[in-house]
């Protein structure tokens, strides 16, 4: 769906004072985050820091308890998932829940139909359907063309991660939230995924949760560090590397394992 960006100078993503409470527990609290269009931002933080909770609030998987979220100048704080998707926001999931009974082709088709609409059609799908052509294009970008007609339950872990990214790329996203895209990949599979991430169009804004410090610092221009649900530090990879507090809670902690 075409989106009219009246605020061309607006930030891709602007988060002000966002918090998410589960019962008496604040998963994230008082988060401020500004991401410029086309920026590559990494979000770091130890387990339980609230990274995925923050993503869930940004995409609308769960609603924010406090704060506001703006996408290219439009407030989406109270908007449902599908409205945010139509504004160009996409995400991948850390734990890929894919449609095990569907083929890669049909999964990508649904990803396209989710954005473009028309999933209510009851007539059998034709091979010439434009959305199917788009699905095949996504498969090519994600590198899953050779398994296009396999059921997703038969895919390897690496192929599932690639498919995740293919789904998120449906219909030219503007802001891409990637939740640990390389998690659980074998050393052989990692370069393929890194190459895929590097090949993303430059105008796409990418926010990346990554456990692997090296990948995160290599692929990103700026880094935000979450700790105990709060924003601990923000800056360039160099600044973050030099930040003593970050070293203490995260980098130091990682070495302590």
């Amino acid at each position: 769906m075409p989106v009219n960006h009246s605020h061309t100078n607006a930030n891709a993503l602007e988060v002000r004072g966002v918090g998410k409470r589960f019962g008496g527990f604040w998963a994230v609290q008082g988060i401020d985050l500004t991401v410029r269009p086309g920026e590559r931002r990494a979000i770091l933080g130890p387990n339980g820091a609230g990274k995925t909770s923050l993503f869930n609030v940004l995409t609308g998987d769960t609603s924010a308890t406090t704060g506001s979220i703006t996408l290219f100048g439009d407030s989406v704080t109270r908007k449902p998932i599908n409205k945010r998707i139509q504004r160009g926001l996409r995400r991948t999931y850390q734990h890929a829940h894919l449609f095990n009974g569907l083929t890669v082709r049909d999964t990508l088709f649904l990803a396209v139909a989710g954005v473009r609409g028309g999933w209510l059609q009851v007539l059998p799908l034709r091979a010439s359907d434009e959305r199917m052509t788009e699905a095949e294009r996504l498969a090519e970008i994600a590198g899953v063309t050779d398994v296009l007609d396999r059921e997703t339950s038969e895919l390897s872990h690496g192929q599932r991660r690639q498919l995740e990214i293919g789904i998120a790329l449906a219909e030219n996203p503007k802001v891409l939230l990637l939740d640990e895209p390389a998690a659980g990949l074998s050393p052989a599979e990692r370069p393929k995924l890194s190459a895929l991430l590097m090949s993303l169009p430059k105008d796409v804004t990418v926010v990346l949760i990554e456990h692997d410090m090296d990948i995160a610092l290599q692929t990103s221009e700026s880094v935000s560090v979450l700790y105990n649900g709060r924003m601990l530090a923000e800056g360039s990879p160099d600044e973050i590397m030099r930040n003593e507090e970050v070293h203490r809670v995260y980098i130091g902690g990682a070495h302590g394992h």
Partner: protein, 325 residues
């Protein structure tokens, strides 16, 4: 298209069967098969077992009885080209309503909620006289006549049931390849992920139930013409369980299984009296069901497919033989 080849022997069946076999076995199997198909569809593609399919079939049957010729003097007769679409629409709407009520339920909870709907409808038909004529229901329901010949004629009813079954199967296989059909299967596999794609979950669930209502309704119309009557017993626990048994015997993983299950069920039901005491039919069908669940959890359809696959691949045999030697 290979499946369509099975139509040829089925079309020739009336040439070799007498009226008893044609009506009591073949036609009845097809009618029960269409009703069970409505359940197999839901179980296979939405992953929900519904006990309300007899209710949806019953709503279509009652519509035909109420708005058609009957001998109890209840209802308003309308021409059959009005009542048939009306019955299908009511059955579809009832399916949608059941789906709307059960949309958040899965597994045992979906079973309980649909069972509650089915049983509630059963008691409602017993107590309501203006629409359902109480527990006696409607008798003397006549199938429409085309060119002076009643559709209840054994040959015509068989051909009508056969084409309905064929159309129902074709509809199912087409529907599951449609965008909505794919969405329904996606909801079965990961409803949360469907939401994350920006697609509603409620609509596909309600649509799947509505479609199953349409199928059940088609079976219900044929059934009321076949039985020539309908009453609360047609929507009670008996038929509810029969439909479930047929689907499980045939296999819930493939829509065609419903008809395999129906043939086995009808043969047992018809000839149990010759094998064992009439009263022991439930024991017999229970034992068969138990055997299926233990030996072939995928149902007879799956069992036949496995055997066919084994026969087709000759390598499998020597391999097995060498394993044994």
């Amino acid at each position: 298209m290979k499946q369509a080849l099975i139509l040829i022997p089925l079309l020739a069946l009336p040439l070799v069967l007498n009226d008893f076999w044609l009506t009591q076995v073949a036609t009845r199997s097809l009618i029960l098969g269409v009703m069970a198909l409505s359940l197999s569809f839901l179980a296979t593609y939405l992953g929900v077992v519904s006990f309300a399919q007899a209710t949806m079939a019953g709503i279509a049957g009652y519509t035909i009885a109420y708005f058609g010729p009957n001998t109890v003097g209840v209802g308003t007769p309308l021409p059959f080209w009005v009542t048939i679409p009306m019955a299908l629409i009511f059955a579809t709407l009832s399916g949608a309503l059941v789906g709307l009520i059960a949309r958040r339920s899965r597994g045992i909870y979906a079973i309980m909620i649909t069972l509650a709907i089915g049983v509630a409808f059963f008691y409602f038909t017993r107590q309501n006289y203006t629409l359902f004529n109480g527990w006696t229901g409607f008798s003397g329901v006549r199938a429409p006549e085309v060119a002076g010949v009643s559709l209840r004629n054994p040959l015509l009813l068989y051909l009508l049931s056969l084409s309905t079954a064929g159309i129902a199967l074709a509809l199912v296989s087409g529907f599951v390849r449609s965008p909505l059909g794919l969405t329904i299967q996606a909801v079965r596999d990961a409803p949360g992920r469907v939401l994350a794609l920006g697609i509603s979950v409620t609509t596909p669930i309600v649509a799947a139930f509505a479609f199953s209502g349409l199928l059940a309704g088609a079976g219900g119309i044929l059934n009321v013409w076949y039985q020539e009557r309908i009453s609360s017993f047609s929507v009670g626990l008996g038929p509810i369980i029969d439909i479930l048994i047929i689907s499980v015997i045939g296999g819930l993983r493939h829509p065609g299984g419903a008809f395999v299950g129906a043939v086995v069920f009808v043969l047992l039901d018809t000839f149990a009296v010759d094998l064992i005491d009439r009263e022991r039919f439930n024991t017999l069908i229970g034992v068969v069901l138990l055997l299926i669940v233990i030996v072939a959890p995928g149902g007879l359809q799956q069992l036949a497919q496995d055997w066919a696959a084994r026969l087709r691949s000759p390598q499998a045999k020597p391999k097995q033989a060498s394993e044994h030697s």
